[in-house]
């Protein structure tokens, strides 16, 4: 049975993100596992809403944490900022999703060259919920698509991924005031957008 949830947060963790971060700076792989357990759901939800595809989101989750580990291996990123690793992970996920556009294109070209499968397994019940969810997300994204890209991303991070303004600003690499202004502009346009897509 599948469950649909709006809430992606987990109960308050016993170990602080700062502790996990320091363990990662010491290159302790188990800390990556703990970070994964804590934020995989949030990264996954962000990726699903960003792409409208569960398949791409599954890949993005793994790629995000692998890239996170590589960043620690490459150089010490210094102490954790703002006490939470979530904005940092979402920033990586955002880059991974952008990168995956090229990979997806290559995969699509590869699949086009392959012969059609003889037998398609039927997972209709298990897949139905995902398909409905994807349809809904794509409909919402279609409405959101009328916003400029930077406003769309801001809405995704603040309203959908529930980041604070400061954290969203850190992910986007802009000032907090810019995030506020983008949200304000997006809110002004949203009623009109909703009318169009009703």
């Amino acid at each position: 049975m599948t469950t649909i949830s709006r809430q992606v947060d987990r109960p308050p963790p016993e170990v602080r993100d700062d502790d996990l971060w320091d363990a990662l700076r010491r290159q302790e792989p188990e800390a990556l596992g703990d970070l994964f357990s804590r934020y995989a759901v949030a990264v996954h939800a962000y990726a699903v809403r960003h792409t409208g595809s569960y398949a791409y989101a599954d890949d993005a989750v793994q790629a995000t944490f692998i890239t996170a580990w590589k960043q620690f291996g490459r150089s010490d990123p210094g102490p954790l900022q703002h006490g939470s690793a979530k904005p940092w992970l979402l920033a990586i996920a955002r880059n991974e999703l952008r990168n995956s556009v090229r990979s997806r294109r290559r995969l699509a070209q590869f699949l086009l060259r392959q012969p059609a499968p003889l037998h398609q397994p039927d997972h209709s019940e298990a897949v139905a919920a995902r398909v409905d969810s994807e349809k809904h997300i794509r409909a919402v994204r279609a409405a959101l698509a009328a916003l400029p890209g930077h406003e769309r991303e801001t809405v995704e991070l603040v309203y959908w991924a529930q980041l604070s303004l400061a954290d969203a600003a850190a992910v986007l690499g802009v000032a907090e005031g810019t995030v506020k202004a983008r949200l304000s502009r997006a809110r002004r346009r949203l009623p009109a957008l909703l009318e169009e897509h009703r």
């Binding site: 809403r49 989750v61 793994q62 692998i66 969810s133 309203y159 959908w160």
Partner: protein, 277 residues
């Protein structure tokens, strides 16, 4: 439909999540490297550096305790006024086109990821078609026999991705030049490590960053228990930069050393100052 409410998402299956988690951790163990690859030659020195550091800390403690009026802070780290520190320029001149292109190819060389798959998002061919934005030689510290390194930025032709590379290793990459803001006009990543052994043991520190348009000059210095390095200075090029410096007789450890980084605008006015470590 309400666009400010997160669209519901089917949660990750717990069993699948656990499998993913195990994959990620296994991959991390597989790729476990205590130091970045270009410092591999120093791995053999770690025990020696550690022993030297322990002796240095012991001696420093004795010396520090026996001094009076020492210009050190509560942690014992030197607190020299920024204006008193000498400046040393890092720039060693432009690299040739062929040097820049070869380094860009090395930078985008296909690598194996921690999951064991080949990272094929970019390849050396992307470097051939890339637009080289800057390519300069700068001073290198802490590696015997190496006095300079190639710092470059370039943009790939197809995806318009921006890369900053140092001697064929990616330092930073992104799709937006708008990473800097008023609060922090040079957002970036700092790093330090212990280098050398015996009398030449010390701390090597670096800072790679994107820069706001108004930033012209950036500087980095290292303060330790026994001394302060010069301000290692460089200009920003292509709204980015990289600083590196060294402080002998110091240890890369919280409480034993600190890194100061500051930025000046094009009129010479200081617009940013921060301390790491």
């Amino acid at each position: 439909m309400n666009l400010t409410t997160p669209p519901p998402v089917e949660q990750l299956d717990p069993e699948y999540t656990e499998t993913l988690r195990r994959n990620v951790v296994r991959g991390a163990y597989k790729a476990f490297r205590p130091k970045p690859p270009r410092w591999t030659p120093f791995l053999a020195w770690v025990p020696v550096v550690a022993a030297t550091a322990a002796v240095a800390i012991g001696i420093t403690s004795v010396v520090t305790l026996s001094r009076s009026g020492d210009p050190a802070g509560s942690t014992g780290i030197q607190q020299e006024s920024p204006d008193k520190t000498q400046r040393e320029w890092l720039d060693l001149g432009d690299a040739s086109d062929s040097q820049a292109r070869a380094a860009a190819r090395q930078c985008l060389k296909l690598k194996t990821t921690v999951s064991g798959t080949t990272e094929d998002l970019y390849g050396p061919a992307d470097a051939d078609a890339a637009t080289i934005r800057s390519a300069r030689w700068i001073k290198a510290f802490g590696v015997p026999g190496k006095s300079r390194q190639l710092l470059q930025t370039f943009v790939t032709a197809n995806s318009n991705f921006w890369f900053q590379c140092l001697d064929g290793e990616i330092l930073r990459w992104d799709t937006s030049a708008a990473a800097a803001n008023e609060q922090n006009p040079i957002p970036g990543t700092w790093a330090w490590n212990n280098v050398g052994e015996g009398k030449s043991a010390g701390v090597r520190a670096s800072y790679s960053f994107r820069a706001a348009k108004n930033v012209g000059l950036v500087e980095l210095r290292i303060r330790g228990l026994n001394g302060v390095s010069p301000w290692y200075a460089d200009v920003t090029v292509d709204q980015a930069g990289y600083l590196e410096g060294i402080l002998p007789d110091a240890v890369a450890e919280h409480g034993n050393a600190e890194i100061d980084v500051r930025a000046f605008d094009k009129d010479g006015k200081q617009v940013f100052f921060t301390t790491f470590g």
